[in-house]
Symmetry: C3
Subunit: 631 residues, 3 copies
Amino acid sequence: MPARTLGTCYYPEHWPEETWDEDARRMVEAGLTWVRIGEFAWSRIEPQPGQFDWGWLDRAIETLGDAGLKVVLGTPTATPPAWVVDKHPDMFALDAQGRPRGFGSRRHYCFSHEGYLEECRRIVTEVANRYGRNPHIRAWQTDNEYGCHDTVVSYSDAARRAFQDWCAQRYQSPDALNRAWGNVFWSMEYDTFGQIGLPNLTVTEPNPAHALAFRRFCSDQVVRFNRVQVEILRARTDAPILHNYMGREVAFDHFAVGADLDIATWDSYPIGFLEDRTPATEAERARFLRQGHPDMQAFHHDLYRAVGRGRWWIIEQQPGPVNWAAHNPAPLPGMARLWAWEAFAHGAEAVCYFRWRQLPFAQEQHHAGLLRPDSAPAPGLEECAQVAGELAEAPEAGTARGDVALVFDYASAWAWDVQPQGVEFDHFTICFAFYSGLRRLGLNVDILPADADLSGHALVLAPGLATLPQGFCDGLTGTAILGPRTNAKTTEMAIPVPLPPALPGLDTAVARVETVPASGAVPLAQGGTLQHWIETLDGDAEVIETTADGAPTLVAAGKLHYLGGWPDAEALDRILRRACAAEGIETLDLPDGLRLRDTDTHRFWFNYAPEPVRFAGREIPAAGVLWEDRP
Amino acid sequence: MPARTLGTCYYPEHWPEETWDEDARRMVEAGLTWVRIGEFAWSRIEPQPGQFDWGWLDRAIETLGDAGLKVVLGTPTATPPAWVVDKHPDMFALDAQGRPRGFGSRRHYCFSHEGYLEECRRIVTEVANRYGRNPHIRAWQTDNEYGCHDTVVSYSDAARRAFQDWCAQRYQSPDALNRAWGNVFWSMEYDTFGQIGLPNLTVTEPNPAHALAFRRFCSDQVVRFNRVQVEILRARTDAPILHNYMGREVAFDHFAVGADLDIATWDSYPIGFLEDRTPATEAERARFLRQGHPDMQAFHHDLYRAVGRGRWWIIEQQPGPVNWAAHNPAPLPGMARLWAWEAFAHGAEAVCYFRWRQLPFAQEQHHAGLLRPDSAPAPGLEECAQVAGELAEAPEAGTARGDVALVFDYASAWAWDVQPQGVEFDHFTICFAFYSGLRRLGLNVDILPADADLSGHALVLAPGLATLPQGFCDGLTGTAILGPRTNAKTTEMAIPVPLPPALPGLDTAVARVETVPASGAVPLAQGGTLQHWIETLDGDAEVIETTADGAPTLVAAGKLHYLGGWPDAEALDRILRRACAAEGIETLDLPDGLRLRDTDTHRFWFNYAPEPVRFAGREIPAAGVLWEDRP
Amino acid sequence: MPARTLGTCYYPEHWPEETWDEDARRMVEAGLTWVRIGEFAWSRIEPQPGQFDWGWLDRAIETLGDAGLKVVLGTPTATPPAWVVDKHPDMFALDAQGRPRGFGSRRHYCFSHEGYLEECRRIVTEVANRYGRNPHIRAWQTDNEYGCHDTVVSYSDAARRAFQDWCAQRYQSPDALNRAWGNVFWSMEYDTFGQIGLPNLTVTEPNPAHALAFRRFCSDQVVRFNRVQVEILRARTDAPILHNYMGREVAFDHFAVGADLDIATWDSYPIGFLEDRTPATEAERARFLRQGHPDMQAFHHDLYRAVGRGRWWIIEQQPGPVNWAAHNPAPLPGMARLWAWEAFAHGAEAVCYFRWRQLPFAQEQHHAGLLRPDSAPAPGLEECAQVAGELAEAPEAGTARGDVALVFDYASAWAWDVQPQGVEFDHFTICFAFYSGLRRLGLNVDILPADADLSGHALVLAPGLATLPQGFCDGLTGTAILGPRTNAKTTEMAIPVPLPPALPGLDTAVARVETVPASGAVPLAQGGTLQHWIETLDGDAEVIETTADGAPTLVAAGKLHYLGGWPDAEALDRILRRACAAEGIETLDLPDGLRLRDTDTHRFWFNYAPEPVRFAGREIPAAGVLWEDRP
Ligand SMILES: [Zn+2]
Ligand SMILES: [Zn+2]
Ligand SMILES: [Zn+2]
């Protein structure tokens, strides 16, 4: 069982060399194990084409390592210097409006640009050659936050050529592609692969099959880009290789990238995310303004535990206000500790605060660190040190397997992004809603890909899973609730005939779908409503729930259920409780803001509420963490 | 008197040939008369330049025709195949931001591109040569939904050159154009026609005279494009020629296009339109979510009856949920029947449901048909069959002339789009508000162009009619209410001096206009308010209504009235009732959602409300239709 | 002491020559002194390159001058004719999306285009040569409304080259620039000045140092452009030179442009500005819909008194509804008089109504004038004539110095625009909030630049002043309240270390900032809240106010205060009253909508409310003005 550890992100190139020693000493003093460096330093490593300046980095690694820190070294490919851009003036991604996304910040490259990929091969090889066997380098990070700032999808000429080639490989002939996409519809048939354009700037919506194929391609290009780096590193180091995924970034398949890596890490900014990417009501936004949404972090923890096949970290943990959201509140006292403990309870091996010291210049100058710009401690440092102290009590990483599995599927995210049919339909949002429903019942949840072995889970939920893999239902052993919109599409984004969901032994078919605004929600016989997405179910399956008008909404054959709509919180709660009861899974009735997580040995309680909470004899302060032996 | 008939839209090229026969049989069985085909099939008719594949289309027509169906054949020019685009890479429209609107969906052409027009001449000639005398082809449709997806206005180089030429023909000399537009204002004077640009991407707003001239030109280009097709068809067929206009599409003059055609048809999507283009309150959006706005369909029926000079169809009728609005609810049971009967009551000769079978692939895969994708009946089919049965009782198309005429004018729509002066001022919106006011009184309304003979109408309304045609007032015989903003502009988009409205015998002048948000509405002495647009009226005309402060708002000379502002519903109701009373036109006080329409022989009642309604001894169920002998 | 005078803006080129005489006569009759002409007439002065038509302008000046009017002649450089554009097709500004902002309206030039600047030199020289000694020309205006329609910032190639040169001059070496901007952050370091791009179209936000440098450069280009004209005029005329600044236009440094001019003038559109650019609540927007915000005009008056070093005018005064806002209500009767008197009370030498006669064609045809398009008097004319009559009573321009100084700083406006950190943080908005707070207390305020001599003001407020000039605090003699966010940045847009505000003798440091939506406002111990921006203050300074939780928010050392957040109206009122009391400045408790302004001899009362107001024995009607001897 690996140890629970702490760390931070550090940029020696940003600070005078004479401060490195003291910084390293204070990191160790604060209880940190890890220090991540290097991922934005290309212009300092290779200031001119082919001219390398290794000295400063050699000394930085030596200083940090000799102080007792383990170094994570990043490849610097997220920030190519100006001279790289001069060599490859067409290396930029193009946005959907056709505008180049140029130099002057970061991630200014198109994943399909062969010239840039060659530059990456070169610099990664150079860095790996130099540090691959360095004993202080204990892990490698590829690039930085693939996809951040909407950088997966590019409409460049390089992308277009690569997409045409990708299509040629997938479909083999234009006729096969035309048939697969249904291009006969509006005379959109191609004679040659060279005619295929990218699905932007069309007069009205492009063919969703075209759009989905392009989204698959874009994801594949990220996998390819990452794999190039991994292969170079593998040949030169035995240290584990990781990437730092960004929260709610679903434009590429993290499972596919993760398959080439050893550890999944993610960047957790609970308060920034509540403002800019968490599905939440206005009341939740106000209530959790300085804490983040009580389920957003856990969702990602459980997701990346799967992406990392059990091994995962937070490699960037918000320690104070950030700079990039529309508003940037400060965390409630205690949250920097709570977030770390919640990660550990979900099995994290490491939590690294971003960043060590607030940098007083450039884009992130208002992003808090563990230290203030004047090197005085920021509030996060004390909480970090407190966690370090507490780790002695509970040192081992690991968590309990969940009774419940929730399937999350990147291809479905693309499918519904391409064709929501009603503006609210979004894969992340519906999965997050189901996840929150489970969390409010006090359950451990495993988030898994569609092709995972689900046989060990007593309850499996798969809302909005566009296409069921072959044999999916055969692999289920407990209760399963599929739908809404599950198995609703072929892999080529068509409606299958016979009609969905076409589940073995379950006689139900989606005869019709409708999408509605709030005013069109449909009351259910047992309370609550279907909202956003409502299906009309045909067939003779056993009816478990109906609308107030008697139309079936939840049907079953034995343990296999299909849910024909998007339940609101009240209805979802009832449906989940009934399913848990059927499987003998104990559920709780947690007060608002309180969450829990079990490991094999302990039960952890987390109070996201801004006031103390009492529950079953416990009193937990605002932003408080409590752990006890597992019941 | 032509018969009332039903039909559908069918795409043989989308389905295996072995299904055509059965489809045709079921269409006939459902009581359908018409089947429209072919309008998106160019890539199957001419798969390669100059290589035609007629076989499948010959057989499809034969199959449908022999089953007893009358075929409407569309020219395929709305969807040029990829090879046409390869030949004419600059044939795309450019949007206002200067971006080409490319291949990959439909309507990807600029009306001003001569090369593409030549391709259209060629393909229409080929199709007409082959099928012009085919006995099963009983009507022709040109292109598909001119203007849909905002495709009338293009900022391409082709459009620019054509606009310069259009200006040269209209104005003859740059000096004349400069004077007409008032280009001296900001030194915008041109020395040559070749300097004239399109009115997009200017620093601040362009000259409204420039913008209006461009909008006229854009409309003229549609008329020209359509006429090219009509002339080819006329020489080769005796069947009537029609076009399918799209709801609330006002970027080109439908009367002008219609003058070259035999029948006007329109595409009616009541529920989609309520979501995306109907002026409605939030309460109306919620109440009529699954029915559509009670006046939106009728407005278009009455409009297209005029465009078609009495002959009109619905050629695409929503039968279930569509795919293209932000939300896509299902119709209440009964609405697919109600919509058809409402069209017939307004004089439609045919109502064709779109589409026969829901297509499981490509852009419209979530657009319901009369059949489900698996060929099982969708709910619309039964309602369609019910209408077919009921037609026996009331077989003849035709309706009663209205007592009231409402003038609708495309040039005014462009004028107020160019220069609303207050963001709410929109020609469609004000005309629709007046139309709704009349409908709530139970009146038959004729919607007519500004140059129509209005002498037979006891009451004429002309709100927001930018420029009165010569002699307009001389042609009035009953009560007329003009304004607000009527005759407010010269044909060159200037304020006339003497000041508007300059009506014969009516001593009133608009001394000042103001536009206000909701908080600035002006109370009227008799109740209600003026909203959005408020005029200060000078002169000695008889004052009929005033503001609470005593300023004249409705003035008259005999039967000729001028209304100096936009009345809210309460004020409009009072004004209309008084005018009707003066002309002895009977008005009713209909409950919310109930509407009626008289033919020469019958009175039809339509209940758009989601609950049953009682009125004067009748009880009409939700989504119900009732007809009785005319009182 | 100069006289208080009235005037108007007139465009002889828009009207038949035979009307000029009568127009001039009526202007004089209405009591006008000034008439501004010529600023959009380039196409009539020089219809073809190098061919001049002076005759009409000679005659117009003669007609106006001989009637007794003083003429302000504008240089016509805001509206280059089509032939200028033909010569310099790349002279347009490019917007942030890279699109040229072309011909067809006005201000269609990039300040950095050398070719266009040369054309300006030429035409200004020609005009100045002809009229520099003309006795009727009593003032000159350069160009028109620099910056209007967002025209200061241009992303053209010309701008890029000029910016690279500007950088080379400012920083001398790429390394120095890299250090100054902190380009090491994301490997953004430049090797040559030629690599520097403009800060648009970056993947995520550009370096704020880069962005701020570009904004400084853009402002400098306006100063340079204006100075070229001033130097030509100075050599040819002794008349004063002015420019007409636009309300709430902060993209260039008006103090810097003003330093080259003799008189500052501004264009005051109170009602249009309330709709489109005044920070106001919804309640204020409704209440002051037809009056404008009670502080917006006065703010600009006090600002431009400083820009003009005591000499200032309104050169364009709204007389009725305008045409360019989303809604364009008419002023309450009396407002056209009130606005003029308010300007005079603040020291204006002249108030010129825009425009003389409403022009019935082109872009501004719905912009009211003093005359209607048919030459009948519009409501503004009578109010103008009333003011003219009243000026006899109170003829002298001049006002009283304020006890309070508010610092307004253009560079701070750019800094916070570049990096608001929370979306609400805006320099104009916070300064306006503080100004309003002072006005509600009945105070005379001087708005001054950061480098002004502040020693004569008993109370100095400097909210959001990004960088304090050297010695700023030494120049203070009374009470000063600095902050929030004052001295928060180095001149290169970094956070200074030691931490801000680093005020002499005041032991406080901003340890942390947070920005919050409305739900995150922080209650203060004495009532009200901090909103938008909240700082955590460290240090041993005397604590004057705290949050409800006891955190210091207002600290002091003697009379020097630092305010660590943005107070709401309640808190601001308390803070200001306390500061005034400490300095013995009398404050009032004005009813909503009532404002006052003292001159050396009189106290003027202005009632912006839509109903009469009673205060201390006075009754002032809606839109009323009252003046009395100064107490
Ligand atoms: Zn070492
Ligand atoms: Zn036949
Ligand atoms: Zn003279």
